[in-house]
């Protein structure tokens, strides 16, 4: 079972964090700090897996963003690597050639997509089509519901 997933930039800024095990805020911060440091210190050609405490860390860099998952001892590293890739594909398909900024400005979408794909640290739906269908349905619901906005809101002043 996946314990958590972190997305962070080359500068070490966390862009997304998903925790599948209950941990205090303090622990989460410490783990993120430690891991970001560890992974950023590694050279590009190194292997994508490392041992960290009693967990296996699987990570991969896509452009400026690192995707990093912690799985348990009996979990399969390669399939976790492809979990990361499938998630990147989902983001890419949804945003249309995704970049770090999309995830910064639409972080809630990144969470929604992740929830459709993984739940409780396990793969829920691995079909790209099915995941995106669920998200698009939600977007559709949203557009119908969208109320007209004020002028102030339009220029972003509230």
């Amino acid at each position: 079972m996946m314990q958590f997933m972190l997305l962070f930039s080359r500068q070490g800024k966390l862009r997304l964090q998903k925790w599948y095990v209950p941990l205090s805020d303090k622990e989460r911060k410490k783990i993120s700090r430690d891991l970001v440091q560890t992974i950023l210190a590694r050279k590009p050609k190194m292997c994508s897996f490392l041992e960290w405490r009693d967990l296996k860390i699987v990570y991969k860099r896509y452009a400026s963003l690192y995707f990093c998952c912690a799985v348990e001892d009996q979990d399969n590293e390669l399939i976790t690597l492809e979990i990361i890739h499938r998630y990147v594909e989902l983001l890419d398909k949804y945003f249309g050639s995704v970049c770090e900024l999309d995830i910064i400005f639409n972080f809630e979408k990144a969470y929604f997509i992740l929830d459709e794909f993984l739940l409780g640290g396990e793969a829920q739906e691995t079909s790209k089509k099915n995941v995106l269908k669920a998200i698009e349905q939600a977007d559709l619901l949203q557009e119908e519901a969208e109320a007209p906005r004020s002028v102030l809101e339009e220029i972003g002043l509230t």
Binding site: K43, E77, I79, G120, E122, R149
Partner: protein
């Protein structure tokens, strides 16, 4: 600012995010955030009711601020309000906020649960999924209490949508993990298993995670899943790459589901049903075959997905550990990966091989990759891969390759990453101990460890080396010499000083004969380190000093001087001060006898599990000691610290030793190579018989001969004077071609071997002589091992065995000449064939002559061939025993001695020695259970002499009465003489 891509576009949020990104400093960011928090707070507190959209936007901003790492202490209520909105996007943001930020505010939890309850019963699948996601994300106890009974119903209801089933399955899994007591098994469980058959691949993918977890906890209830999983797997594995449509990933059909199916099967033993098992084996074979097919795509995703399944299949094969064919194929496949250009695959292959190494079917196959693995340890650029290589070397280590592996690990330690040094040190220490064929190698290895990585050598490691040195008298001299040399280094690690202090304090006498390591030199060397050491080490050194006073009276004045100085007896540390004061007093008032009693040599440590192993067990992580390994080490550990003379391993050892006899190898190593070299040329069938008997079937005999004895034998103080003699001879004795007289200690040396057949007979600075012997009826075979301890060649090396006086007609000893040159550090062996013609009292003499640096060395020892070696044990009951006892009641048939116990009166020790004597130790014969009786027949060429022995200990008086009766006076007398020296 980028265009907001989809749908909602909360413009205010985007502007805020953009502002934060434009902040030039942390302070500016905090300022901007505080401004926003104030704004949101005023909006939430304002009189005007906020519309849903605004509420959603502000909640989202709060969430963003929280995810930046700032604390959020308000807004929860507004988020909870959003849950009850009937607008999907508002509800969705509300749930997201709760999922990320929930705390155990009981009031809120009640409200949240209420909202969830409403959504679960809404029959709107999108709302239901949101609610289920929230439960799965939060997974608190309160939620488990509220929904643990509801969710199984949703999961198995006929009309539930597929997407809801998927969420429900994983939601239930999360609740089961947090609160297993609240998820009650019931009618739903059997229906859950059948989800493995569901048409929707997504449902199977989600449900199988739940089923796997439930199976682990309740294997019996879920065992029907095995056949379902096998048939599902079989369908996937045999499907064409396009059959599964969107569940095919880069031409690999359903890789996630396949891996999960293989994982589920690992919760169970191999299927009992032959058909199911056959189908599964077929699947595994297909997966292995596919690995050899050319890839359908060059994309790394294709090979990753394919290999993910392959590795999971290999895990299952290893888990079953019952299909040698598959295991070997798996091993070969991993062997290919070891050289793959993808670092990831090399890493995984090393990891997976580690588990394969522990299977008896594949251990040998794994070992063939040793060179590749060593190469990986040396050349991999990535520390995590090197770590895996080190783990694998540890796992594949056995007697045949231990020296090589330990050497490689030691040399890797010099450059190893700091993060893994401690673990490496423990592993090296364990391997060195576990597979030590000779203990000088073990001592060298541990001292090297301390030299190379002293900071990482934990107490357990150096405690252990001391335990072993104390328990093995054949390595003590070597240890003292080596540690003395190591301490010469200008800067040596404090752990080295500790080991040095302890060993020299106990065994410094063994090297004191050499003027270069005379007592004072030893003391000065230790004391030169004193001032740089921590308090505990200094305390240890002070104890070593008082031991020195006992061992070497000539150092007394010097040491007392040291103890007397202010920095000792007035030391501010109370422990040091106390030791200095007490030791000083002890040395000045106690008589030599008292001092000798107080400071008697350490008794052997009781046998116990290696403390290092326990330490490694505590350290979690891969390559940590598995259960099987522990059993293994218990088995081998006994051997280690016991005599280690189990000959069942000899084939493997012989293979490694026969070609390159290692210079310092002791008997053990050589012993196994000896039969290989000697057996074919042996004159009779004796040797072959002896060895076939000494094979796996005779572990007990080995224990008798060595295990116990060596362990329990009290250390004797003969060896130090020996050394003095030996080297003294070398320097002062005029060169003479005549055999020297037997050493004064020759009889004592002989006595050490009455009850054992193997060990080190003699050792001085130049030469070590080891013995290994086997007897059968009236015949014997003795292997002598002459080791050159120097780095200089011995020239004109010759040995002569002679039987003085009447022994000539009693004993027939034949020997072959030895090679005249013994290279520095080398060891040569000599075989003697012994035949007992009639009973005898004297021992044959062994004279050794050689030139060392021009000086002729000439020494004579007594060969430990004693009459009891030709004993055949005879079992008999009490009645028979006493009947014969009475028959042998004439005065000349009996020999009796009453003597003081000189070695303590431990029952096990006594028994071991009596067994070592060669006769049968009879239980329940003597009416007094404290007494020991033995019976046997001495086999000579001419006649057989029946012997009975009775040993009566008197614990109170610390005395024994030993009575021997036999049909021949000389035999009784000789046996009585010999045995009375043993207790």
């Amino acid at each position: 600012m980028p265009a907001v891509s989809k749908g909602d576009g909360m413009r205010g949020l985007a502007v805020f995010i953009s502002d934060i990104r434009n902040c030039k400093s942390k302070e500016a960011e905090i300022k901007r955030i505080n401004k926003e928090l104030a704004n949101i707070r005023s909006k939430f507190k304002g009189d005007k009711a906020l519309d849903g959209y605004s509420k959603k936007k502000y909640v989202c901003k709060l969430l963003f601020i929280f995810l930046l790492g700032h604390d959020i202490d308000f807004g929860h209520m507004e988020a909870v309000n959003l849950l009850s909105s009937n607008k999907y996007t508002e509800k969705q943001i509300g749930y997201l906020f709760i999922s990320v930020l929930v705390n155990s505010n009981s009031e809120l939890i009640r409200l949240i649960n209420n909202a969830i309850k409403n959504d679960l019963s809404s029959r709107n699948p999108t709302f239901m999924c949101l609610a289920l996601h929230c439960i799965a994300n939060v997974g608190s106890r309160e939620m488990a209490e509220a929904f643990a009974s509801e969710i199984p119903r949703i999961l198995v209801a006929g009309d539930t949508m597929d997407s809801v089933k998927q969420s429900a399955a994983l939601c239930l899994l999360r609740l089961y993990k947090t609160s297993p007591d609240l998820v009650l098994m019931g009618e739903w469980t059997s229906r859950v298993v059948h989800l493995l058959n569901d048409q929707h691949m997504g449902v199977v993918t989600a449900a199988i995670s739940l089923i796997t977890c439930l199976s682990q906890k309740n294997p019996d209830e879920f065992k029907t899943c095995v056949s379902l999983a096998v048939s599902r797997l079989s369908r996937i594995v045999s499907s064409a790459s396009t059959d599964l449509q969107d569940y095919t990933y880069y031409f690999v059909p359903a890789p996630w589901l396949s891996c999960k199916l293989l994982r589920l099967l690992q919760c169970y033993p191999p299927p009992e049903d032959g058909a199911v098992k056959g189908r599964l084996v077929e699947c595994l074979e297909t997966i292995l075959n596919k690995a050899q097919e050319p890839p359908k795509s060059k994309k790394v995703q294709h090979s990753n997905a394919k290999n993910a399944i392959l590795f999971e299949a290999i895990s299952l094969i290893i888990h079953y550990d019952s299909e040698p064919n598959l295991l070997v194929r798996a091993c070969n496949q991993l062997g290919q990966f070891l050289q793959h250009r993808e670092t990831n695959l090399r890493y995984l292959a090393l990891e997976s091989m580690c588990t394969l190494a522990s299977s008896e079917f594949s251990h040998e196959a794994v070992k063939t990759h040793i060179e590749t693995v060593i190469n990986a340890l040396k050349t991999e650029r990535d520390v995590s891969v090197r770590q895996r290589a080190a783990d694998l070397l540890y796992a594949m280590c056995d007697r045949s390759n231990a020296k090589q592996i330990v050497a490689e690990m030691l040399s890797y330690l010099e450059t190893a990453d700091y993060s893994i040094r401690e673990e490496m040190v423990l592993k090296v220490a364990i391997l060195a101990e576990k597979y030590a064929v000779d203990y000088s190698w073990y001592v060298d290895t541990i001292l090297n460890l301390i030299r190379i990585a002293g900071d990482y050598v934990s107490e357990e490691v150096w405690y252990r080396v001391i335990q072993i040195v104390i328990n093995r008298d054949d390595v003590q001299g070597y240890a003292a010499k080596t540690v003395f040399e190591a301490l010469q280094a200008p800067a040596c690690h404090e752990n080295m000083v500790k080991v040095g202090g302890y060993i020299l304090g106990e065994f410094g006498n063994l090297i004191a004969g050499d003027p270069r390591s005379s007592p004072l030199v030893q003391f000065n060397l230790l004391h030169s380190k004193f001032h740089l050491c921590s308090v505990p080490t200094r305390a240890l050194l002070l104890s070593a000093y008082i031991k020195f006073i006992n061992l070497f009276p000539e150092t007394k004045a010097t040491i007392q001087e040291v103890l007397r100085c202010d920095s000792q007896i007035r030391n501010s540390d109370v422990e040091l001060q106390q030791r200095a004061v007490e030791y000083l007093k002890l040395s000045s008032i106690a008589s030599t006898d008292v001092l000798a009693t107080v400071l008697e040599e350490m008794p052997p440590f009781p046998e116990r599990e290696s403390s290092i192993l326990a330490k490694l067990k505590k350290k979690k992580g891969p390559g940590a000691v598995s259960v099987t390994e522990l059993d293994d080490s218990k088995r081998e550990g006994g051997e280690l610290n016991g005599g280690g003379e189990r000959s069942s391993d000899s084939a493997a050892m012989a293979a490694s030793n026969a070609s390159t006899p290692s210079p310092s190898a002791d008997l053990l190593g050589i012993r196994s190579s000896a039969p290989m070299g000697a057996a074919p040329s042996a004159p009779g069938s004796l040797l072959v018989d002896v060895f076939s008997e000494a094979g796996p079937a005779a572990p007990a005999a080995a224990v008798n001969n060595d295990g116990f004895m060596r362990e329990l034998e009290q250390p004797t103080d003969t060896s130090d004077s020996l050394l003095v003699e030996g080297s003294g001879d070398a320097d002062s004795a005029p060169p003479s071609e005549d055999p020297a007289d037997p050493l004064p200690e020759a009889d004592e040396l002989l006595n050490k071997f009455v009850c054992k057949n193997n060990g080190v007979l003699f050792e001085n600075q130049l030469l070590q002589i080891g013995i290994k012997s086997e007897y059968r009826q009236n015949l014997g075979k003795m292997y002598l091992f002459y080791g050159n301890k120097t780095s200089v060649q011995f020239a004109s090396f010759s040995t002569t065995v002679s039987c003085p006086g009447e022994l000539q007609s009693q004993l027939n000893v034949q020997s072959k000449p030895v090679e005249p040159l013994v290279e520095g550090g080398a060891q040569i062996q000599q075989v003697l064939n012994i035949e007992c013609l009639t009973d005898f009292c004297e021992a044959p003499l062994l004279n050794i002559k050689f030139r060392y640096g021009g000086a002729l060395q000439n020494l004579t020892l007594k060969l430990p061939v004693t009459i009891n070696k030709f004993f055949q044990p005879t079992e008999m009951n009490s009645q028979d025993f006493f009947q014969r006892w009475k028959q042998l009641s004439q005065a000349q048939q009996e020999a009796q001695k009453i003597f003081k116990a000189s070695h303590g009166m431990d029952t096990e020790v006594i028994k071991a020695k009596l067994l070592g004597l060669g006769s049968a130790l009879l239980d329940d014969v003597d009416p007094n259970p404290e007494n020991y009786v033995c019976a046997g027949v001495i086999q000579t060429k001419g006649q057989q002499v029946g012997c009975l022995l009775r040993l009566e200990p008197n614990a109170q008086a610390q005395m024994y009465r030993l009575t021997l009766r036999s049909s021949k006076e000389s035999v009784s007398k000789r046996l009585c003489d010999l045995m009375s020296q043993q207790f």
